[in-house]
Symmetry: C2
Subunit: 292 residues, 2 copies
């Protein structure tokens, strides 16, 4: 596998595509933004005229688009799937619901190609450093064929099951935990503030105790800032916890904490904070507690 | 402050009282169980005939009882408060609601003595090693007087505010985060199981990602065992998340995640698992998902 098509050169996708170039893959990339393609070209990749052009004769087509609808549009409407080499693999790395991945897999497999369901965690830092965590749901043979590509993008590649959709399921759990951990950190810090405790002291105590989470220590300090830099927006969790609950419904698994946490992000978005850093869900709790 | 009364020589209290003895405090201890008092005596402490006897002429009376009701019973019904030295300090280290601590403080202060609200985290390991985290709500002068005693019990002593009840408020947040983190770990692992993912692989991936929490890594492995050792029981979180919600109500702070998580522990208790390890809240989620 050497000829790679890559669609979606955003904050995550561009450094991922560049990592493939650096590992000697021949990468032809497409993105709606010309400057993203120029950046790829400057690093030794090739610019495509459209999505199907990026996919032309590709042995692997990596999709790092926003969601499942975009992936379907690229594959089926824009003709990228039919442009690929016979027997190639679609490597779907966007965050999608397990059911959406299964539906895409059926259509890809009907053409004799494979779907490698491979969502990631690790953010822009992991994408740039080639240190992403990648959760793969794929037939063992398809997983084996894609290993070199995935290994160029992440250093923690887990084959979690033989079915496309199972990678998305683990990513779903990842987003469930991340979203609830952010919301409960906000619930706790708003309570501390109402009790007249300096939230910075509460954070210092809790961040070093059995009450700690990665998100408490990462988002907690930004909850104490008035206008923190936007690392990831409130509306991303409105979307991702929506995927979690859709997946739970499709799979018939009740998810009461996901449901409660989603309402907090929805409310933050309703307050006009959808584009702000997700730590600002604390403002929903402050409103609920009558603070300010 | 050298003469210490100590009431409540349980799994936490006994090693704490022994740590005080080792630091050259004169400790007179009381517990309903004679063998606990014998263990203290063997380490150089003194056995009391009853709670008021433990408190007799004490400059500090440490209470490591089960809850606020027991603390009130010891202080006011059993006569321990009146037996103390004039101007002494009651050091209340049990997990109580902030409102209960405030009520106890008023009655203690009416006798000219001080209440040092000083709940702990760190479990039996921290109690034995003198490495507890201690969250102190107390007037600055009372805090200063109790520093030597608290420093013998914990190595992370934080003065979080000038009012008794504020230590309990931080402990409340601690229990909120711990309880929700356990419940959401169970919510995630049950979902993974339903999706046909090996929960051990899911745990390995999530425990090293932004989705991790101290509780995920501590309780998660026990969620995969059929009958894990009981480190802390389901019913402890029924109690502690109840305190969290009572505190939220008293302080007028809405706590939707605490409310949802409590229901999961209540349900686990309803299934007959109240005395089992709190990781077994995963059985509630497995039932909700129709597993087994």
């Amino acid at each position: 596998m050497n000829r790679i098509g890559f669609v979606g050169l955003g904050a995550m996708g561009l450094p991922m595509a560049i990592n493939l170039v650096k590992k000697q893959f021949r990468v032809r990339g497409f993105d709606m933004r010309a400057e993203a393609m120029a950046a790829l070209e400057a690093e030794g990749g090739t610019r495509a005229a459209h999505a199907a052009d990026a996919a032309r004769d590709a042995e692997a087509l990596v999709l790092m688009v926003v969601n499942a609808a975009q992936a379907e549009s690229v594959l089926f409407d824009a003709g990228a799937l039919d442009a690929m080499a016979p027997g190639g693999s679609v490597v779907l790395m966007a965050t999608c619901s397990p059911a959406a991945v299964e539906a895409v897999a059926r259509r890809v497999e009907a053409t004799g190609r494979s779907l490698v369901d491979a969502p990631v965690s690790g953010g822009v830092v992991g994408a740039s450093g080639g240190t992403l965590t990648i959760m793969v749901g794929a037939e063992p043979a398809a997983f084996e064929r894609s290993k070199a590509v995935l290994g160029a993008l992440g250093d923690k590649v887990f084959h979690v099951g033989p079915k496309p959709g199972q990678g998305a399921a683990v990513k779903t759990v990842n987003q469930l935990l991340c979203g609830v951990h952010i919301a409960v950190a906000a619930e706790g810090l708003a309570f501390a503030e109402k009790a007249g405790i300096d939230p910075a002291i509460a954070l210092k105590i809790l961040g070093g105790s059995a009450a700690s989470s990665w998100m408490l220590n990462n988002r907690g300090p930004r909850m104490l800032e008035d206008e923190p830099a936007v690392m990831s927006a409130v509306d991303i969790f409105v979307k991702d916890l929506g995927i979690v609950l859709d997946a739970g419904k499709a799979m018939k698994t009740a998810m009461p904490l996901a449901a409660a946490a989603l309402q907090m992000f929805v409310s933050a978005s309703a307050q006009g904070l959808g584009g702000q850093d997700d730590s600002q869900v604390v403002e929903t709790y402050r409103s609920l507690a009558g603070l300010e």
